[in-house]
Symmetry: C2
DNA sequence: ACATCTATATGTTGCTTGCACATATGTTTA
DNA sequence: TAAACATATGTGCAAGCAACATATAGATGT
């Protein structure tokens, strides 16, 4: 998903059947990223976000389009974003997303969660490198 | 799994059907933690690790025993740890784990992956808090 | 005798992801 | 004008992973 390689491989995630190699990611990280991007730039649409999400990925990596649209639908379902169809003159219709106040609350919760996870990673690294 | 609450709730993960609230974690984080603990203290066994893994959890949280044993079996399957049965005089038999050189290599890869993920989280926080 | 602690393990279920593919419209190019 | 391409949004499926419940069994305490 968001773990990426430069050398041809798009994803770090190992395909080897039995391999447990370290291609780990942060679960559902796409959600706070989407919320933040929509907050920063209201009326973003999915195809926009596809590009802008790259900021939250390692070099050369990107999020799956399926994940983006599925998560946007999910976020709207639970009321964290709202969308309107925009019939543009050029190209197909697109959904324009805005964040709701509930979405903003959840985003602050996400930020706290992310801080906690960051601390866990820092603790691990401190203990590993000594 | 590793995200924890004090107030009765063992896990942050929300049970609400439709809720996408931020109970996120780092995927397979238990694996590098197990490797590191076994490296630090060779001949650790599962029940030991159950305790020591708490270092890598938020307050009040812990890893699931099922996850510990399943991951230990997995790590052994792929050759990152080895185990011997120890028939102790007191208590039931237990497996004593040691890390292999391949396991040590993977652990350094994990450390790099964890550093990358840490940077992603830092980037998110910087962008959110401004 | 029975409960509890230590220790290891399996089964089941649901969620998330990655990949491949489908659909639709407008624009450019041969 | 047909084909190819870029924009834009989605669906279906399989695999991986985590949470939870349950199983097994020997040792120790009362």
């Amino acid at each position: 998903m968001c773990l990426g390689g430069k050398g041809g491989k798009k994803y770090n995630k190992c395909k080897n059947e039995k391999c447990t190699c370290p291609g780990s990611r942060i679960e559902r990280f796409i959600q706070p990223c989407l919320l933040l991007l929509v907050q920063e730039k209201p009326n973003s649409h999915g195809y926009d976000l596809l590009d802008n999400l790259k900021d939250f990925c390692l070099e050369g990596a990107s999020f799956d389009t399926a994940s983006i649209y599925r998560n946007l639908r999910r976020l709207e379902e639970v009321g964290f974003v709202r969308s309107d169809w925009q019939m543009s003159k050029s190209g197909p219709a697109k959904r324009a997303y805005v964040i709701t106040s509930e979405g903003e609350n959840v985003l602050t919760m996400w930020a706290k969660n992310i801080e906690q996870n960051k601390k866990l990673l820092e603790y691990f690294l401190k203990r590993y490198y000594g």
